[in-house]
Subunit: 508 residues, 2 copies
């Protein structure tokens, strides 16, 4: 530490102490002391926190996060996806005009000379920029990275300003609804494997929504704003949504009521067929195209055996501007912390059916976005899904808390220990032997640690084995291998130690 920094630090410590000294010293004396300690650094008390809406992950949280990511990445790889990465910030103009009203939530970097930059808001727009920039017309890729939104954080509900997105997208010109069906299959697989309890995947189509607005008499220039209001149906009652449409957005009562009839509809392929026959809906070409594709989508979903969880729901209207076709959103249908017993049964009968704890995945088709970046406007049709992983983490953490099983934060197989003094060098030598053989091993950084504290560390961190050496073991060329949970000990020859450790920890 440099002298200057040391002094700044001392100033800070001393100044924070002065608060408790106020009753003993007069203010003038304190001010003099503060001046001696040197201006700026002493002026405010040091704030020890992370930025608003962000958090650290401790080792236990990271262990859970790693498990969740492994499940998700395995699924993406099972579907043949490649992996890409893009920078955390983009040119500001790259993000401009892509997020509608949400643009105000974008974090900008300070202008320190050079380019104007913003932190990425999602992974979809950088993906589209990547495709256009590299002239990629076909790719199936996943991207797992943090995104940034200056939103009102609600951290207990898993809403942060810095959070992970896990995105899977298929870009390319293909026959209708096949990649779209695969995205839904992926959501089904991931949510099933994570054992978060029961879930529903709502599906709709931008074209069906727009067609519906048209036939209900919504003026063209009100489509997007009425769509935003419909989007609130998962949080607001129909009465409130209707009132916002009519009173705030100036829609006629007749149009609102007609919309109300449609957005209450839910079903499957049958509903798509019925609406294709509907006197009003069938007047819209857009709606018919969307409904025909919806039928096709459900036929593929039947082949994939996922129709048990998928609902065609006319009230689903995702906010982002760039969607052009099918849209979807997955919700968990249980309230509050997931009861461990219920999720283990894969059911959740006790939980209130149909009450949403929020969206855990969402996505859709965006055929126009890449073209917005291409100098010649060449289009690359895309469809994708984003797993809202923070909410999943929250649930998994609650499950881990409720569970009797301890979360291990290391994978250490063996602790190299000794009961006697002056054996540090022998412990280090043996530990290095084990490391070189690929064994995950730990050793205490003390010259003469107590055996009890070495064993205690194993108990605390779940290390299953202890390799104990003493004068006698060294003379005999053996190691005493102790199993922590049973306290059983056997002598193993030094030459066979590595194999024996591997054998005993093969399930770790």
């Amino acid at each position: 530490m440099s002298l200057q920094i040391f002094l700044q630090h001392q100033a800070r410590v001393l100044f924070s102490r002065t608060h408790s000294l106020k009753k003993y010293y007069p203010v003038a004396k304190l001010l003099e002391l503060k001046t001696q300690l040197g201006g700026d650094e002493g002026r405010h008390q040091f704030t020890l926190k992370t930025a608003k809406g962000t958090r650290d992950y401790n080792p236990k949280q990271m262990a859970i996060r790693e498990k969740v990511f492994n499940t998700i990445i395995s699924c993406f790889k099972r579907h043949g996806a490649e992996n890409i990465d893009t920078p955390v910030f983009e040119l500001k103009e790259t993000l401009t005009g892509k997020y509608g009203e949400d643009s105000k939530l974008i974090y900008d970097l300070k202008d320190q000379g050079g380019e104007l930059l913003s932190l990425r808001y999602d992974l979809t727009v950088p993906f589209a920029r990547y495709l256009a920039m590299n002239k990629v017309t076909n790719i199936k890729r996943y991207h797992i990275a943090k995104v940034y939104r200056r939103d009102n954080p609600a951290m207990t509900r898993g809403r942060y300003r810095e959070f992970y997105q896990c995105d899977f997208d298929i870009a390319g010109q293909y026959d209708p609804m096949i990649p779209d069906a695969e995205c839904l299959k992926i959501v089904h697989e991931i949510l099933s494997e994570l054992e978060l309890g029961d879930f529903r995947i709502k599906v709709n189509d931008r074209r069906i929504l727009d067609g519906m607005f048209a036939v209900c008499g919504v003026p063209d220039d009100k489509f997007r704003t009425i769509c935003s209001t419909v989007d609130k149906l998962d949080k607001m009652s129909w009465e409130d949504v209707r009132s916002e449409m009519v009173k705030e957005k100036g829609l006629s009562e007749e149009a609102a009521d007609q919309i109300g009839q449609y957005v209450s509809l839910q079903g499957g392929m049958d509903l798509a067929e019925r609406l294709l026959q509907d006197a009003k809906m069938s007047q819209s070409k857009q709606a018919c195209a969307g409904l025909t594709d919806m039928k096709q989508l459900f036929s593929y979903l039947q082949l994939f055996q996922v129709t048990d969880k998928v609902v065609f729901d006319l009230s689903l209207a995702r906010g982002l501007d760039y969607y052009t076709g099918v849209i979807y959103e997955a919700i968990l249908t249980q309230t509050g912390p997931v009861p461990v017993a219920a999720t283990q049964n894969g059911a959740g009968e006790k939980a209130e059916e149909g009450v949403s704890v929020g969206s855990v995945a969402g996505g859709g088709r965006y055929d126009g976005l890449v073209g917005m970046f291409d100098p010649k406007g060449r289009k690359v049709p895309c469809v994708g899904v984003s797993i809202g992983i923070e909410r999943v983490f929250s649930i998994m953490e609650q499950k881990a808390e409720a569970s009797a099983e301890k979360v291990r934060t290391t994978e250490t197989q063996v602790m190299v220990a000794s009961a006697q003094k002056n054996l540090l060098e022998e412990r280090l030598r043996l530990t290095a032997e084990l490391w070189n053989a690929g064994i995950k091993a730990e050793v205490m950084y003390k010259k003469n640690p107590k055996l009890l504290s070495q064993l205690q560390h194993c108990e605390d961190s779940g290390i299953p084995l202890v390799a104990i050496i003493g004068e006698q073991e060294l003379k005999d060329g053996v190691v005493k291998l102790r199993t922590v949970h049973s306290r059983e000990e056997i002598d193993v020859s030094r030459a066979e130690l590595v194999e024996e450790i591997k054998r005993r920890t093969s399930d770790v």
Copy 2:
């Protein structure tokens, strides 16, 4: 896509087209057109690039990156490390006063109301903040994440403004030099396993440097600035360094020459012993403490069998302010792209010995940093190492380019294909069966793809097997399983298909 965005987009496309139209239309006409298309969006041409000093990773680069990360993470886990994560930005004041002259390279976020934030400059300061905030006094952790520096990028040499650091640190009050030795062992393991060619790990100690400056007659207030100049010895000749000390920094010629004699020294434990006897050096208590620890360090490094690569080098002076004890830096000793043959031999005899291609790892002890964040100034001694992974990526990429072996970007085991028409549904059904059994499978998103194009995709992306179905196979309840490289085909019963694919791809 909303109407507004669509129009903006069209404006952009049309405006970019107008450039080629200039010869046909008068300027006035063009300006009128531009105004119709709506001001702002048309004003400048769209820039399709990533921010300066940053880059995308394509799937091939990601495959290499994943391999490198796996090697590094395996090593960290072998040494019993836990994993943590911290936000990409910190309160600005958290970073203030930690980086000396480098502070000017910190990226600040724009003040959009609320807290003043900066992107993290390294992972060490956030780690210290984490320890103080959570009152952690003992932890061995790794952290792999991106850090940000507004430096002059030199991307061909692997210097970026956004880059990964892979940090391993040990915090806690332990007996001297044991954790320090483990950090060096880790660097040795990682650089050996990555097969980057020969390397050296230079070691020194802040206390030895400071003691040396004292006995050479450097005034107390010039320690840090003279240290910065010594730090340039890996890029500048001694003559230039001497000249900077004397002419720019006002050091006496005698002091500079005495420093010159010391900083030319390299060795091992023997050098530490010699300097402990050195008439001048032995006058400094600080230097003696550092030299005694250096001897101890080398004795542990001998037990770890890594002294072949470690050099005690008095010219090593790392720039960061927060180091208090041992410091180290690993360099590759080969020039330019690593010849594949040389690294495969593990040697590199043909490369010029001793010419550095730059540091690939560095670190040291920082016993005061956590205390700077603790309101009561409580100290937590720390030592750690950071792997400079971007340079490693560059080398691995060059090796991959030079190698005949193709880098696979997916792990797909089998492609579900058909030679006949109208079998899309059957292909989808079989693919879903394979996914549900955990097989990594792909299928073409076309109703009637050509068999040749399905086989071509396997060749291109290295998929080893094709599961072909036709009318006859469906009737017989079999699948034709084709091995791509040998073109051999056998009929496998549908019930045995999963096991057969697993058996044939068990080495994938």
